[in-house]
């Protein structure tokens, strides 16, 4: 079972990974976006860590809901509302339970991913964060490790695609050949998740 501490660890590891990879995310965002994805997420996740330390929510649902709200309040751009919605909706789907099973988490995360898709009007294959999120959620029922691998693979698979959503869409065919920064940061979330699970199991 997964408790509030597990989710706090997840988000703290995610913040550390985003911090480490911020420059790379911004570099990826430079040819097809506006060169700020790394710095924006860095600012948002740092705020998430700070607020989780201050408020220490007691349930998995509360941790994720609070983190999502914090991302919406600090990131800006498209990634703020999208990542914020992902975590907030996942948290809401988990309800008030003090502990959740891995399957319950997988189901809740799917609700979060569906909400992201609805908010951004994008689907798998549009060269967005969903290209990592959708396969990762599909694989999550199997294991955290499988989800990490699926997210990585999904992010890499965005390279040959033509963007249809967000600022990269204005490039048209010229977006082909660049890995999507949003899918890349989404893969970091699943990397952090797998790391957290590994650490928890000793």
């Amino acid at each position: 079972m997964l408790d509030a501490a597990f989710f706090r660890h997840w988000l703290t590891s995610a913040a550390a990974l985003v911090d480490r990879e911020a420059q790379r995310l911004t570099e990826l965002d430079s040819p097809i976006g506006d060169a700020d994805h790394g710095s924006n997420l860095q600012r948002g996740f740092a705020a998430v860590v700070a607020t989780l330390e201050k408020d220490a929510p007691a349930t998995p649902g509360a941790v994720l809901t609070l983190a999502g709200r914090q991302l919406i309040s600090t990131v800006g751009g498209a990634s703020g509302p999208l990542y914020g919605t992902l975590l907030r909706r996942t948290g809401k789907a988990l309800g008030d339970a003090p502990e959740v099973s891995e399957q319950e988490f997988a189901d809740a995360l799917r609700a979060g991913v569906d909400a992201v898709s609805a908010l951004g009007g994008a689907a798998h294959g549009d060269k967005t964060m969903l290209d990592a999120l959708v396969p990762a959620v599909d694989a999550l029922s199997e294991s955290f490790d499988a989800a990490r691998a699926a997210a990585d693979e999904g992010a890499l698979a965005t390279t040959p695609l033509q963007a249809r959503k967000g600022r990269a869409s204005y490039l048209g065919e010229r977006s082909i050949g660049h890995q999507d920064p949003g899918a890349t940061s989404s893969a970091l979330l699943f990397d952090a998740l797998a790391q957290t699970a590994e650490a928890g199991r000793g």
């Binding site: 700020d36 924006n40 800006g76 204005y170």
Partner: protein, 330 residues
Amino acid sequence: MKMLINVAETVVADALRGMAAAHPDLTIDVDNRVIVRRDAPVEGKVALVSGGGSGHEPLHGGFVGPGMLSAACPGEVFTSPVPDQMVRAAAAVDSGAGVLFVVKNYTGDVLNFDMAAELAEDEGIQVAKVLVNDDVAVTDSLYTAGRRGTGATLYVEKIAGAAADEGQPLERVEAIARRVNENARSFGVALSACSTPAKGSPTFDLPSGELELGVGIHGEPGRERRPMMTSSEIADYAVDVVLGDLQPRNPVLVLVNGMGATPLLELYGFNAEVQRVLAERGVVVAHTLVGNYVTSLDMAGASVTLCQVDEELLRLWNAPVRTAGLRWGI
């Protein structure tokens, strides 16, 4: 890349502190990033709130003041502001007559303003939204995020702002804003890329002998790249693209807008060519504005916006305005 900054993280806050010192007509909340006209809320008047990424100055903070915006929310550089800023701005300027959000069509701006509208309505503030999407360089809207909002934003904010100042109700101000957007089209060209403070180097690679036709205000590419053209050739291309989409029967307002690093000497020269093409095409010009209004940091280049106006829109355009970036009649 040399920039006149301290560190990238404080660029926006530093600029807001400097703006506050230069413009005592404005109340600037540096911590929360909200720029408000000092006399807000104005009793009985619809409030206009806009915002977007920083790096497009004077848009939007430079357009706050009597006759135009009531408040503006600057985001990080090229990053939309967050809903908290917009709600705070709406609460600061709402007199009970409602608030119009002027939103440029970028995914981030749209999502954040949508969330802000919901939150503001929860607080009892009546909110309407107008989406600005004037950039004709974006052709295939089905497969993109849709047309971008660029130069027409200035016209929407000025003309709807004048309608609000006259005391017109929210539905009316919103309808006028929509009408301005529907009658305005833009097209931009870049001669060089811009450099964001976070990246510290040009955000895209534009060889010195080429220009990007149809560029967006974040350096997003447009239609095509060509070997460098003359001012006259660029004017022919840009005006014809705009007129291909907007066939004005009425007079037009013309905005020849600099992207940030093109001197007025070049902009005025370019405007001469734009006026020549318009005359050749039989388009009547009611008013022309030349300068840096909707910029893209240090990008070299220009955009042309045409806005077809009827008598009412022209009257509202000519109405007094007093902001840092646009000022006449007061």
